[in-house]
Structures are given as structure tokens and as C-alpha cells.
Subunit: 270 residues, 2 copies
């Protein structure tokens, strides 16, 4: 597909991109924005369907950028070249790296998640903050989590802040959006060990054996886990609080639990 | 000291508080703002010197608020009652809880840090982001870290976002600001085990024995640890990255390391 060139900020494509900064328009159009080199690369790797990719050549820096564009063209994605003035109008903040994609959000289904011996899932109930969502994906990626199940999320999952703070891992860590009952039935049928994180947990989180297919359950920032999940869990664990504040935030708790599971699993394999 | 009542937004005190939102004025006046119930309580606990404490009675909710004010009065802190209109002008964002303190930043010196058997320090070089600073203190508090040494920080440590995101633990976890050479000489003289976190670490972070007085060294968000600290360390450790992104953020790394140390120490004491 030949590239297109846009040099007017009044161009209709530019107006559409600007609109996509608002959640309402993202939801109406079923589209999201993917900004930044690393994010676009992750989305391409993760098989995200791009509608078009905007490139501002004067702002591209690395050889990696050229091969990203080549890869996009090879996949038949329309590459739109634009002038710095046009690009500036479309991007948000000061983190422009000369690449901006318009893409379709895509989730996998529960059935596509791994449930083999190595399965390590995070199940997050009712997440509220895009920044936490991004941070959780980043930690999940680093800890080798095999999938994230978002139950009844209360945030726009493709908020640009969520994508940015995930460093693009929102597109590479397998992720499912699901209702609670459906997710629980699926987890139970696959006999995953369900470990619920709660300040009222009877066990310290380090006392559980995570070297089995398991799912770590975490609740929303404000309410924590609902009784639905607390009652369904095989173990309820707490992270000991040794200081004066009474809770870690959701992303920190997810990180600590995922890395404890990774630690135990690594010490088995050698 | 009898309470003062302020009902005009043109009052000079109100103008001073508004100015303190800016770093320049905080530094000129040597003052900071402490907003929120939990934050004020932590600062009082931590022995922070308050110049005055603003209270908006219609917005106070809990019994805890009344005892906080009583405690402040007992310590001779001027309590200034203000109307909702005045209070609204002074606070930032939508998180007003009816309490706002003006206080003097206070740091302890290296010599006041604990170096006994239980000592577990975090040494952070050149931190840049207030949000990370707050998150690190929150994790440090939860993990039982006995002190944080900030070497040549590049952020305003009393940025309201740092205080907020620390949930007030910025005032309760012992903290020192120091030059690098001075801090290293002090750490070496006390024979603390120095564990440097770096993506190029020769050891996995879980292979170090943290059940000895030790200091975990972490570098800035962008540059990581300088060669000064990397060469001085007794061990250089990495957190294995099992996914596609190439780094955890600073606060996440600090959390993972501090909780690994806490895990090892807890399993000793039973």
C-alpha cells in the first residue's frame, strides 16, 4: 500500500485522531491510540490490528524505526507520513517519538489462556486506575505471568496512560476481559490453585506453594476482593505490613505476589 | 494557643499557602504542605515541625480528626479554622479531607540511622520523579526498611505528589539526604553489605543473603546506578526479566528487593 502524506492540521484523519483522545470517541469508534516506538513495536508483536500508522520522519531516530515501518507496510498497514506540525497536534504530552498508531482493541478469550503446568495467571477484579493497569502488565511481563484476566474492570483499558505505563506490555501479555462467574467457572474447571490476596488473609503470601498451575486473585484499589472471590479461593494470603501505613497499592501487591511465584518456580528449575 | 479563624480568601496566610504549591516558594521559605488526614497524622507521629495546621470543620469526618487536632494543639501548633471557600482555595485537586498543614522539611543525619543487626537500608541515587519517591517510601514502610538514604536527589522531595503517594510514610520512615562519597564512607565504616541493583548484575537478586545488616542500592530512573556505586558494591544483582519489556520501574524494583530481604529475614525469626 503506498504511503499517504498529510500536511494540514485540518485534515479529517487528524481530527479523528484528536477525537480518539477521549474515551467516549474511542468506545464509539472501537479504536484506540498507540503512541511511541516501544508501544507500537509491542502492539505489532502482539498481533494488534492497526488501522493506520502515523509517522513523522523528522522525529524518527533509530534504525529500529525504519524496520518498524517496513514491518507495518509488509502487513498491509497504511503508513501516513505527516509533518511535525500535524504530528504535534495529534500526540499528547511531550513524549512524542514520531510514531502513532490507530488500532482496534483486541482481547483473547479464556479458552486461549495457557493452563499447562507453567500457567501463572493474575485475576484482577474491578480495576479502577489506568496507571495501575499499566504497571500490573509491566510487572506481569517481567515476572513471566502467562495471562491476565480482568474481571469487570471499571476503567477504560485503552486509556493512553494505561498503554504508556505498560510500556506496550498491554499488547504482549495475554489478556482477557470476563465476567466474574464465567472466569471462576473456567478457573475451577481447569483446577488452577486460586490464591486470593487480602489484608485479612490467614496465611502469609510466602507460605503458599506456587509451583503448580495457579491464579493470583487481586481486588480493586478501593474495595479489595469481593466475597465472591474470597470464598472461592483455595488460599487467602496477606502481605505482612511491617510499618505504619496500612496497605500497599494494587500494582505493588501484584508485583510482590507475581515475583514470589516466579522465585519459587525458578528455584525448582535450577 | 487559641485557634484562629480565617474566612477571607484574601487573607495573607491563604496567599502564602497557595504560593507553597510552587517548588520555588517552598525552597525560598523552607516550608512544605502536608495535605490529608493520613499524611498529617504520619507527620505528627514522625515528629515533623508544623508551623500551622488548617482545619475546615464542615469537611472533617471522623473522630480521629478531632483527636489529631487535639494532639496538634497540645504540641502548641497553631490551628487555623477556615471556611470551605477558603479551604478550597488552598488545597489541590479533589482529595480534600479538611486538614492541611504547613510544616518544615526535616531530615535526619546518617549517624541517626540504625546499623544494628536488623538494619535494612535503601540507598537511592539521583531519583527524579516525586511519584516514584512516594511509592518507594510506601514499600519501604511495608517491608520494614529501617532507613532510606537519598543521594543527590534530582526532585523536590516535598512535592505534594511525593507526600501524597507516600501516604505520609515520607515522614515516618527514617530518611537522610546525602552526598554519594559521604554516604559510601559511612556505609563502609559500618560494614553494611552493599547490594547494587542493576540489569547487568552477575547474580540473581534471590541468591544474596540479606539476613545481615545491608543496604540495597538503586539508581535513577534514566541512568541507573553510576559506576561509583556499582564498583563499591559487594554484590551486583539483577531481577530476571522473563518477558519482552526490558526493565521494571525504579519503585517496582525497590519493592521486589525490599520484600525479598523481608521474606528471608522473616523465615529466620520463624
Amino acid at each position: 500500500m503506498p504511503d499517504l502524506m498529510v500536511s494540514s492540521t485540518q485534515n479529517n484523519r487528524v481530527k479523528t485522531v484528536v477525537k480518539l483522545r477521549e474515551r467516549q470517541h474511542r468506545e464509539e469508534l472501537g479504536l484506540m491510540l498507540v503512541e511511541g516506538r516501544r508501544e507500537v513495536a509491542c502492539a505489532l508483536q502482539g498481533g494488534v490490528e492497526f488501522v493506520e500508522l502515523y509517522a513523522c520522519e523528522p522525529w524518527l531516530r533509530s534504525e529500529g524505526d525504519a524496520s518498524l515501518l517496513e514491518e507495518a507496510r509488509k502487513r498491509g498497514i497504511l503508513v501516513v507520513s505527516c509533518t511535525p506540525r500535524v504530528f504535534e497536534k495529534m500526540v499528547f504530552g511531550d513524549r512524542a517519538e514520531g510514531l502513532l498508531g490507530v488500532a482496534r482493541p483486541h482481547w483473547i478469550s479464556l479458552g486461549e489462556l495457557e493452563t499447562a503446568a507453567s500457567a501463572l495467571l493474575l485475576v484482577i477484579e474491578g480495576i479502577e486506575k489506568p496507571g495501575n493497569l499499566g504497571a500490573i502488565f509491566r510487572s506481569a511481563d517481567a515476572a513471566g505471568v502467562t495471562g491476565v484476566v480482568l474481571c469487570e474492570p471499571r476503567t477504560d483499558l485503552f486509556n493512553p496512560n494505561a498503554i504508556r505505563s505498560s510500556l506496550g506490555t498491554l499488547f504482549t501479555v495475554p489478556a482477557v476481559v470476563s465476567g466474574a462467574a464465567e472466569a471462576l467457572a473456567w478457573l475451577k474447571a481447569r483446577r488452577l490453585l486460586l490464591v486470593a490476596a487480602t489484608p485479612q488473609g490467614e496465611q502469609v503470601y510466602t507460605s503458599v506453594d506456587y509451583r503448580t498451575p495457579c491464579a493470583i486473585l487481586l481486588g480493586s484499589e478501593h474495595a479489595g476482593l469481593s466475597s465472591f472471590w474470597l470464598e472461592a479461593a483455595d488460599a487467602r494470603v496477606r502481605i505482612p505490613m511491617r510499618g505504619r501505613a496500612d496497605s500497599l497499592n494494587l500494582a505493588m501487591s501484584a508485583t510482590i505476589l507475581a515475583f514470589e511465584a516466579a522465585r519459587q518456580r525458578a528455584s525448582v528449575s535450577g
